[in-house]
């Protein structure tokens, strides 16, 4: 049973042999004592939330000093926020596998935060049971990232979820444990299907949006067929590939855009959609009954499932 020490200074003193090399390394990169003290003081509430257990707190101290040395310990820094607020929210995970969870969450958080999905991702991870083995930590975080909306990780996450213990995967995917295999297989075949989602005609996903409302675009986008995913968006002088599934969407800029041909303009009144607008183009995707639709007065593209012919 580890001795519980309260307060970061006491913790550092008690484990000086472990912490001193980290401090010396940080000093080598220009970190002075005052900066190190201030950063470790910042860490106080997070360590307290994790009960001050040295085995749990020391990886946080290590991460803090490392971020400080890299110049990433400032108010606007995502990793600092992860150490101070996210890791305490994932207390059960951190307590179970501190040496694995702390670096993995820190490494993944920047990418997830860039997509604006950090909170959703952390909530999903926090709701899930802790993996039974430390080797399952990273696959679990990957599955949670995809399930939270990072669609570009879809294929890797489907493989990772299939390899995870059913209980862990079920908690992350929010499906019954007995159905994990079936759900993964069916979803792999049809990216627009998910248990509990309406699989009738209608809008199944939205892509992009106006920059003023947090979207990526200033101009109204147009759609075209082609590129690595079959769906292209032409907007703001750029061409991007649209990647989407039932959980999320993303646009990947293409440096060498393929030639784009204006797609047909279906009658909007025949589309099962909740708006009246002129459609500028609709491109079928992997399934002929799922279209990527652009319209005259919207900066957002809609993925629309039409009634089967």
């Amino acid at each position: 049973m580890a001795v519980v020490v309260t307060g970061v200074p006491a913790l550092v003193r008690a484990h000086a042999a472990t912490v001193d090399p980290w401090l010396r390394e940080a000093a080598g990169w220009g970190v002075d004592a005052a900066a190190a003290r201030a950063a470790l003081t910042d860490l106080e509430p997070a360590v307290a939330a994790l009960d001050g257990d040295p085995e749990v707190a020391l990886p946080l101290v290590r991460a803090t000093l490392d971020l400080l040395a890299r110049g990433r310990w400032h108010a606007a820094s995502v990793p600092r926020g992860v150490v101070l607020t996210v890791l305490p929210r994932l207390a059960t995970w951190v307590r179970a596998w501190p040496a694995d969870v702390v670096p993995a969450v820190l490494a993944a958080s920047r990418g997830v935060a860039r997509a604006g999905l950090l909170d959703a991702w952390v909530d999903r991870v926090a709701r899930a049971d802790v993996p039974a083995a430390p080797t399952d930590v990273r696959p679990a975080l990957l599955v949670a990232a995809w399930r939270s909306g990072l669609v570009r990780y879809r294929d890797a996450a489907l493989d990772a979820a299939a390899a995870l213990p059913a209980a862990t995967a079920a908690a992350l995917l929010e499906v019954p444990e007995a159905e994990v295999g079936v759900v993964l297989e069916r979803h792999r075949a049809d990216r627009w299907w998910w248990p509990g989602r309406d699989d009738g005609p209608g809008v199944v996903q939205r892509v992009g949006g106006f920059v003023g409302w947090g979207g990526p675009w200033v101009q109204v986008p147009r759609v075209a067929a082609g590129g690595p995913t079959g769906w292209l968006v032409v907007v703001d002088g750029t061409v991007g590939a649209v990647v989407a599934d039932v959980h999320g969407s993303a646009v990947v800029g293409l440096e060498d855009p393929p030639p784009t041909v204006a797609p047909p303009r279906p009658d909007a009144r025949r589309l099962p959609v909740p708006w009246l607008d002129e459609v500028t183009g609709a491109v079928p995707g992997e399934r002929p009954d799922v279209l990527l639709v652009a319209r005259t007065h919207s900066c957002t593209l809609d993925v629309v499932r039409v009634a089967a012919a």
Binding site: G28, W29, G30, A69, R70, G71, P103, A104, L106, A107, A108, R110, G111, V112, R138, P139, L141, L142, A145, L150, R152, Y153, R154, D155, A156, A160, P228, T229, A241, V243, V252, G253, L254, E255, D256
Partner: protein, 526 residues
């Protein structure tokens, strides 16, 4: 300039759009990319790794906040501000631009070329060369030990190896004398400090290693293999202890100048001194190229295609430089090389050449033309530049960027030429990099003005010939001969420019090939 973490390598992609086909699907390696990838993770593309090495060097190792290798994004003109009485232009490039002092040595590493670093003492020339050795995977100590320091007493044996004394006494034949070769000869990065202080005899031996990759001592031969060479000189304008042998100078692919230190960055120097951290001792493993990667890097650079429009502009530029109408009587000998071999002054002959406008004709600004070796270096470095920038093929900008550094010592300006008399061009007498860039730009403008991309009858003739003569009928040969003669006839009333001179010789070559084939064809059917 961040000095926080010497082990930090810029995140890929370091150049947006240069990562080839974009990753639409991502995986765990991407999600956890903020930290060191596991050993079994997919290795980065070598062009990306090369760019990461460049950015690590400029961010952490060499304080060179210069962007003298400028690029502009297509359709985005650079912004220019003019300062002072001389109207010195401050260009703000619209695409990723680079510092020649760091970039050219790195490209030399990639193509295993020969780079000369020139500049005053204490400008970081040797430090840059040492970094290249470390990037090749050698421990700093080994790189420092392997560095050859030029001095007036340096002998061939000091430099390359010594015969074993025991063998010298006992051997009955030279072949029995074993030579203890110096270990630096086998390294993939070779550094010769202050090469212009090496005595002439040793320079000649060095030339053999540089040019042919082998050393000979006491009839023993050592194959050094392909390697990147870095030579340094405080002053390459004859200020060394010994005059550099012309042949050795000609083997150097690129010349890079250490630019002046920007005093605004003194703080970085102070920080570095206080911390006592040496960049060359803290090179991140992620930017080190092992022998296999180095080989692959070279192969990948060579595989970058050089498209015809770029090649044609280079041909046009090179063609302007060699013609000297009054140097000879026969067409083939009307070149600057003829004048030089005869000991005549090309400037005098150029001055008596009144057929062309000597201010517009770029050939009138040089005392020599380009050697085959210079053109090979130019193509190789243009490919390396394109590779580094992630271009699928060599663009004109890539060629334009490397040209001044490759031709720096290979193209001698005629400083008495009228083209330098213009007050606005006065500075080009001393700024050779800008001069070279300017004459290349002029050549490109002339090429475009002549519309040679769309109308190239000589190119068509050569393309037909390149397709082969097998099975060509007599009437076709006769038609092609008539075409050649018609083109030459059409040029009789125009001034002879360098490109026309090369084209005329090419047409003569084609005419000779067709004539010989026609004779053979008629003999066969008789």
């Amino acid at each position: 300039m961040s000095e926080h973490d010497l082990q930090q390598v810029s995140q890929a992609p370091t150049r947006a759009g240069a990562a080839g086909t974009p990753h639409v699907e991502l995986d765990a390696a991407h999600l956890f990319a903020d930290e060191q990838l596991p050993a079994d993770a997919t290795a980065p593309r070598l062009d990306e790794k090369l760019r990461q090495a460049y950015f690590w060097m400029v961010n952490h190792a060499v304080i060179s906040p210069h962007y003298d290798v400028e690029f502009s994004a297509p359709g985005q003109a650079r912004t220019t501000y003019r300062l002072g009485d001389s109207r010195a232009a401050v260009h703000l490039p619209t695409d990723q631009s680079y510092s020649s002092f760091v970039l050219l040595p790195l490209l030399t590493f990639a193509v295993r070329g020969r780079c000369l670093l020139v500049g005053g003492p204490g400008r970081g020339k040797t430090a840059s060369a040492i970094l290249m050795g470390v990037i090749a995977g050698y421990p700093v100590r080994d790189v420092r030990r392997a560095m050859q320091h030029g001095h007036p007493q340096l002998t061939v044996q000091d430099m390359f190896g010594t015969p074993l004394p025991r063998d010298l006494v006992n051997a009955e034949r030279l072949a029995d004398v074993d030579v203890a070769w110096r270990s630096w000869l086998g390294m993939r990065v070779k550094i010769v400090d202050e090469y212009n202080r090496i005595p002439t005899r040793t320079q000649s031996a060095l030339l053999t290693v540089l040019a042919d990759g082998y050393v000979e001592v006491f009839d023993q031969v050592y194959e050094t293999g392909a390697s990147a060479w870095y030579l340094t000189a405080n002053d390459d304008a004859g200020g060394g202890t010994f005059q550099v042998v012309d042949a050795l100078r000609d083997r150097i692919d690129v010349v890079v100048k250490a630019l002046a230190f920007n005093s605004r960055f003194l703080g970085d120097l102070v920080t570095r001194a206080e911390r006592g951290v040496r960049p060359e001792e803290n090179v991140p493993p992620g930017i080190v190229f092992d022998a296999d990667e180095h080989d692959r890097l070279h192969r990948e650079v060579l595989a970058v295609p050089l498209p015809r429009p770029v090649r044609r502009r280079l041909e046009f530029f090179a063609a302007q430089l060699e013609l000297l109408e009054r140097a000879g009587s026969q067409l083939e000998y009307r070149t600057k090389d003829t004048a030089r071999l005869a000991g005549a002054d090309p400037h005098t002959l150029l001055a008596s050449d009144d057929g062309r406008d000597r201010r517009d004709d770029i050939g009138a600004q040089t005392l020599n033309g380009l050697s085959v070796r210079a053109l090979q270096s130019l193509v190789l470095y243009a490919k390396a530049m394109a590779y580094f920038r992630g271009d699928a093929q060599v663009e004109l900008d890539d060629l334009r960027a490397v040209l001044p550094f490759v031709l720096h010592d290979k193209l001698q300006p005629d400083l008495d030429a009228p083209a330098f008399d213009d007050p606005e061009r006065e500075a080009l007498r001393t700024d050779r990099v800008s001069w070279l860039r300017e004459i290349f730009d002029t050549a490109c403008l002339q090429y475009d003005a002549a519309g040679l991309d769309g109308d190239d009858p000589v190119g068509d003739v050569l393309a037909e010939l390149a397709a082969g003569l097998d099975g060509i009928e007599e009437k076709v040969v006769l038609a092609r001969l008539a075409t050649i003669e018609r083109i030459l006839s059409g040029w009789q009333r125009t001034k002879l420019h360098g490109d026309m001179y090369d084209d005329a010789l090419a047409l003569k070559y084609a005419h000779q090939r067709y004539s010989s084939y026609l004779r053979w064809l008629r003999w066969q059917s008789s």
